[in-house]
Assembly symmetry: C2
Homo-oligomer: 248 residues x 2
DNA sequence: AAGTGGTCTAGACCACAAA
DNA sequence: TTGTGGTCTAGACCACTTG
């Protein structure tokens, strides 16, 4: 086998010792040489094999454990874990950067801004239990002359009072918030839907054309901060997610 | 000194020392007390603060760096990083589990199976440079009586020869592969599109109805293993991604 | 009871990037 | 040059779990 017969030697990379140990073991697991359930050599055995201290071996094994490739049990040893979990790191770029990466000029336009007492729907979207002031924003992001994404956002003014003073005419709410409110947790929902008339009109596409919808709720230290819905015309946007189970 | 001068006893949680250091610093960053660009105390300072060895401090700071919360520069120190990267952990469930979680009976049906020499398009999808045998599969996943997702898959037989002997009549290729081939890397592309006639027919929806498309390429130890495209009717599927910036 | 991993120490040398 | 982080050592004690 092996189309690529990797370069532990050729590639010239000078790995640190614990990285090399990690890499060796990962290779054994990923190649299938060590099947799920297989017991990995004890730390003291690897210590002898690599002629190094136990801390060095431990560093490698701990990382493998945190990455989920192996499971460690006191008194028993370390074992190759069962099938990989289907998790991936999803990168959600800033829209400006995304547009500029396409080589197109970026433009932002605020469509609407309303400060109001939160409706039941607002509270549901934000995950708020008590009523309070919210700011509702609607904006368009352009790539060149074409609408690239429609943004509908709610900001919880109880959490970010200063947002109530901002007009958001020159800066999009996303970057504004990022610079001010450190977020501790976020939840995304991604789905497809057909454009309704209002969306089709805003995005300059045909009614019932397919759109990609990305919704994000963000918390900072347990407090709901914002809920945002980005609506992309289908042809303008692809989300890309990459994942490597463990990294050295 | 002492941010938390504590109690290995009182607090209930008995964190290891490096976990407590990590947690303290993360709290400072997420609360905004230490803004982006702020210089974190040097290792030797933390060593004094927590009355511990440098390795212990280093372990905490290394983890924060790997989590992307801080950046470390030799000779300069460690600094709180700029705005959080918009990364999220995307969970892609097994379709069977997903369907059963809805309380609906799951059924799998293989539509087509072709073994062939890879076409240029096959190689492009799989990321193969050299020609070789591939297995092309088309399947339907049902939730109750309704089609839930259409699956179009290519398997690189150079990497997974035994797949060539499998009919995939009773087991879906996803679970089959998971049990056999550990994956080291995966890439997802997520987009919306309108159903063409073939898709609409298979999924029993109207032509040009919006669909969510999830494509996944998987590698194992540098070798392309499979490319799969799941097509969901818009109303049947939402991807959910959650994220917390760093974990102890 | 014994052997594993979890954690920690008090040093050390080195590479690297500022000053 | 200097001081930082990156890495490593050769011990140590402890907690846990299994035989």
């Amino acid at each position: 086998m092996s189309l690529v017969e990797t370069d532990d030697i050729e590639g010239g990379e000078s790995l640190s010792l614990h990285q090399r140990i990690l890499s060796d073991i990962r290779e054994k697991i990923l190649s299938g040489a060590w099947a799920p359930g297989h017991r990995i050599p004890f730390e003291h055995e690897l210590t002898a094999q690599y002629n190094c201290s136990r801390m060095t071996v431990n560093k490698a094994l701990s990382q493998l454990a945190k990455a989920g490739l192996i499971e460690r049990r006191r008194r028993s040893g370390s074992f190759v874990r069962q099938p990989q979990s289907q998790a991936a790191v999803l990168e959600l770029h800033d829209i400006r950067i995304e547009v500029e990466a396409l080589g197109l000029p970026y433009r932002y336009e605020r469509l609407g801004r309303v400060k109001r007492r939160s409706s039941a729907e607002d509270r549901a979207l934000l995950g708020l239990s008590a009523p309070g002031q919210v700011l509702a924003l609607e904006s368009l992001h352009f790539a060149g002359e074409r609408p690239f994404a429609l943004e509908k956002r709610l900001i919880n003014l109880s959490a970010v009072a200063e947002a109530g003073e901002e007009e958001f005419l020159d800066i999009a709410p996303g970057p504004w918030l990022i610079g001010r409110v450190p977020w501790s947790e976020a939840e995304h929902r991604i789905r497809a839907m057909a454009a309704d008339d209002a969306i089709a009109d805003a995005l300059d596409i045909e009614a019932s054309a397919p759109c990609l919808v990305v919704e994000r709720r963000t918390w900072s230290a347990e407090h709901p901060v914002t809920h945002v819905r980005f609506i992309y015309p289908a042809e303008s946007h692809t989300l890309v997610a990459r994942f490597t189970p463990s990294q050295g």
